[in-house]
Symmetry: C2
Subunit: 237 residues, 2 copies
Amino acid sequence: MAANATRKEALQNHLLAAIGDEELARLLPNLELVSLPLGQVLYESGEKMDYVYFPTTAIISLLYIMENGSSAEIGVVGNDGMVGIAIFMGGDTTPNRAVVQNAGKTLKMNAAMMKDEFTRGGRFHNLCLRYTQALITQISQTAVCNRLHSVDQQLCRWLLLSHDRLPSDRILMTQDLIANMLGVRREGITHAAKRLQKAGYISYVRGDMTILDRLGLESSVCECYQVVRTEYDRLLA
Amino acid sequence: MAANATRKEALQNHLLAAIGDEELARLLPNLELVSLPLGQVLYESGEKMDYVYFPTTAIISLLYIMENGSSAEIGVVGNDGMVGIAIFMGGDTTPNRAVVQNAGKTLKMNAAMMKDEFTRGGRFHNLCLRYTQALITQISQTAVCNRLHSVDQQLCRWLLLSHDRLPSDRILMTQDLIANMLGVRREGITHAAKRLQKAGYISYVRGDMTILDRLGLESSVCECYQVVRTEYDRLLA
DNA sequence: GCTTGTCTGTGCGTTGACGCACATACGGGA
DNA sequence: TCCCGTATGTGCGTCAACGCACAGACAAGC
């Protein structure tokens, strides 16, 4: 099931595409292509991370799980980034869970190899740090958005964040799961999604959602979305 | 007004205290001791950062300011850390404002020197990264707390975070300012603070608050506080 | 076909926080 | 001393989100 990754596959991940031919050629033998099913947990909170993941078509959600079982998303990673920054930041773990939000493929690399490559310095090192800063912005904006904005706005933001990281306009996810990610009630998502359907921005049938009018969503979202988008573009151009 | 920092002053900042004698001796000539008044803005959102700050007695709050003027805190930095991580992360700026929450002293270093020292690698490099990871945990937990917990709990968390970074039990800050930090109404802070007063945990008179019973506060706070505390201890021991 | 489990819609009452409007209280300066 | 600006307390009505309960609606399997 595990196969060495090809150059073409690696280039689907924006970070790997940006590090340059020479470094990519060195990394390639250590990159393994795997398929991730919906719901798979890549890391559990506090668990030692064995691999770093560079998604291509998969989307990974970073969640914090409360003691009472409720949860909230702090960030989302797709083909624009990587999962497992704690490996090179030096902490080895984080108090979060990383779970597959959209089934798809990812490249993975052994943690030790990742550390070696990182400590070489150079473009890869810098790119990892710039990506980390972009992720910090995303997490920060999640904090702000959680504090100041409505469920409607946050659903828009979540949909756009997902859409940015997907090859198609379809999102396969039940309202219950979205509610868990956003840390709100399932009924709250039902209401917000209905409003978006009435506006003609999305269609939604039993866990199968389609983005119909992206511009419409962008007109309803709070400024948080654009702030993060702009920072990603600036830092990872 | 600006004076070279002494070794003793530098050791009041936990990061500088942890990097070891040799590296500290090299940094010391580049560290300048300055006093920061309450409310001073160290960086404006998107502004190029000229200095990195290592607080000793000052506390700095990292805020995001919405277009409509409302604001929310995403993190807080005291003598446990540093302000200006974007300088070595490679982004040079962040979309946040850094403002003095508690008047006091800080050491500051020129951004170019900071970059040089960081790229040397070694213990300082690693410590900066580990601190960054700790800060990420703090921001993440702010996001979670904003989503799932009451104003009462968040005020407790905020008080404990401040208390951890202060040499005394006094916090000089009006309810209005605290409300701006937490992104809630001033009246909400009034109510929450009154409850804490009635419980005997704090006293509060016109911008002059005293922590009377820290254990009481800890018994009222949500788990978010301890998660962050534990991560700081683990990463920066 | 029928059953069963899952997903979505809807209708309550409740609650926490909001926005607004004042009343009160303190403290420094004229 | 008085005044005035600032800080805090309080009382509304409003609203968004919550918790709970249950009713359809669809899909898969027997």
